[in-house]
Amino acid sequence: MTAISERAAPLARPARRFSRSWLGLAPFFLFAIFFIGAPVTYLVLGSFQNNEGQTTLQNYADLATPSIANAFLITIEVSLVTAVVGGIFGFLLAYAVILGGLPRVLRDALMTFSGVASNFAGVPLALAFIFTLGQLGMVTVFLKNFGIDPYASGFTIYSKLGLELVYLYFQFPLMVLIIAPAIDGLRPEWREAAENMGASSRQYWQRVALPILFPTLLGTMILLFGNAFGAQATAYQLTSGLIPLVPLLIGNQIAGDVLHNPGLGYAMAMGMVAIMGISIAIYTLLQRRAERWRR
């Protein structure tokens, strides 16, 4: 999403060749139309139809049903919490290995591991956390030995908090991967120049480093938000639908045997697209404001 400055293309063709250059992108656009555009269009149309195939706005009206509205709220909450917490922790972790004075080899190890962990989702991830923090999980049992019983105090891995802990496992590695180049881009001379002019470490962060990183931090957190927002497999496996997340409800409506109302499912999907669209729009606005200084 970063605007890239292109040197004025010396190979630039006269205007009449312009349209032919775009032809080179035809395969990509065709693919996008067939496999992104067409399904989304179908969903848009489907969301305005009821089970009998009649045009209706009922599906959208139904989004206001308490159970569905609640699912949207919970999904947004889980995504927001894991994006912010994962984002902050991932940032600290990346900072630790890049500028925190830790051995270089730890950085390479962390980057490699983050590449794997950021894609670790679904069944294996859900299972791993059940083995760790489930009722008989390793850590649970370990804590019990010390007289601390998380389950006695109301914790369960199958709860919203549990789900958030699980999501964090792929959230913060994604943050590490994406933010690392930006931290690398913080030039040491900026810190030195700030110190030279009498700035304390806090003042440097407040006035120089964070403002410089802000657009990237913001963009990455939106990405993490979307990452959690669309995640279905992990939640499906972990909570078996106990926590009403929107992607699970959609699955139920479209494919479920009991609640079969595809139109409503499509409308919910449109709701998700709309929420992501809005968050990306907010991001773009904020980024533009924060990025005036970038060419």
């Binding site: 992108l25 693919f31 490699t112």
Partner: protein, 263 residues
């Protein structure tokens, strides 16, 4: 270079990260070894024809996805950088769409559009698999495009292209003989990320009723106790090996490729 204050705090952050990374893996290992005799979960999994079958299926799908995705993305990213830079923001936006459209939404759209004439993909096995590949290409778009785009930016494609053109090379020759070989690390990182996505993916494969690794693992976890833990670890190990391979193969090139992610 410089005395760093608070290095201990950074070590603590790092250790916390390591704990978060490894505790679930250790717990899984611990659990998988509880089967009697100790390695029974592993031996029985490896002997299960469905395990090998689904893993092989997913690997083949991954291979096809990677090839098709590269064939689509490399020329596109190249062309955008070289000839239509003004299309960049549009193409970038489109590659980010998979982040906006949840997999469950995508797969239902695909099924609805392609399960009836004139495009009855889902009526045949091969058609369903083709649809699966298409879905995975969409999922891998953000990662693949970014990896390739970063790679292209680290080499001077304009000069390379002009040099090749001046020696009489056509577009295909340029892409195949000049650009691709210079993108090795970028292609590898995109390819392995795609592999990781395909190996772990559940939603799309499940709804398309494909015999892939994700649905197999899901089924296994509902019927067996220890085997799912063993199989999870094996799949995690495979992905990790792929990542180490990227790091290793990328070591001798100066360009550091940003693995995955936007920006």
């Amino acid at each position: 270079m410089k005395r760093r204050r608070g290095s201990i705090a950074w070590w603590l952050v790092f250790l916390l990260g390591v704990l978060y990374f490894f505790l679930p893996l250790v717990a899984t290992l611990d659990f998988s070894l509880k089967a009697k005799p100790p390695f029974a979960a592993y031996t029985s999994s490896l002997q299960d024809p469905k395990f090998l079958g689904s893993l092989l299926y997913s690997l083949v799908i991954a291979g096809v996805t990677i090839t098709a995705s590269l064939a689509l993305i490399v020329p596109t990213a190249y062309w955008v950088q070289l000839r239509v830079p003004r299309a960049r923001s549009l193409v970038e936006f489109m590659t980010l769409l998979p982040f906006v459209i949840p997999a469950v939404v995508l797969v239902f759209g695909l099924i609805r559009v392609y399960s009836r004439p004139p495009l009855p993909f889902t009526h045949t096995d091969i058609g369903s698999s083709a649809l699966l590949v298409a879905g995975y290409i969409v999922l891998s778009l953000p990662y693949m495009y970014r990896a390739v785009d970063t790679g292209l930016r680290s080499i001077d494609i304009r000069s390379l292209t002009e040099a090749a053109q001046s020696m009489g090379a056509g577009w295909l020759t340029i892409l195949w003989r000049v650009i691709l070989p210079n993108l090795r690390v970028a292609l590898l990182s995109g390819a392995f990320l795609t592999l990781a996505i395909v190996l772990g993916e559940f939603t799309i494969a499940n709804f398309l009723a494909r015999p892939a690794f994700g649905p197999y693992l899901n089924l296994l976890s509902q019927s067996k106790a220890y085997e799912p833990a063993a199989v999870s670890l094996i799949s995690f190990g495979l992905t990790w090996l792929a990542m180490i391979a990227i790091a290793f193969l990328g070591r001798d090139t100066r360009a550091r490729i940003e693995i995955g992610g936007a920006h």
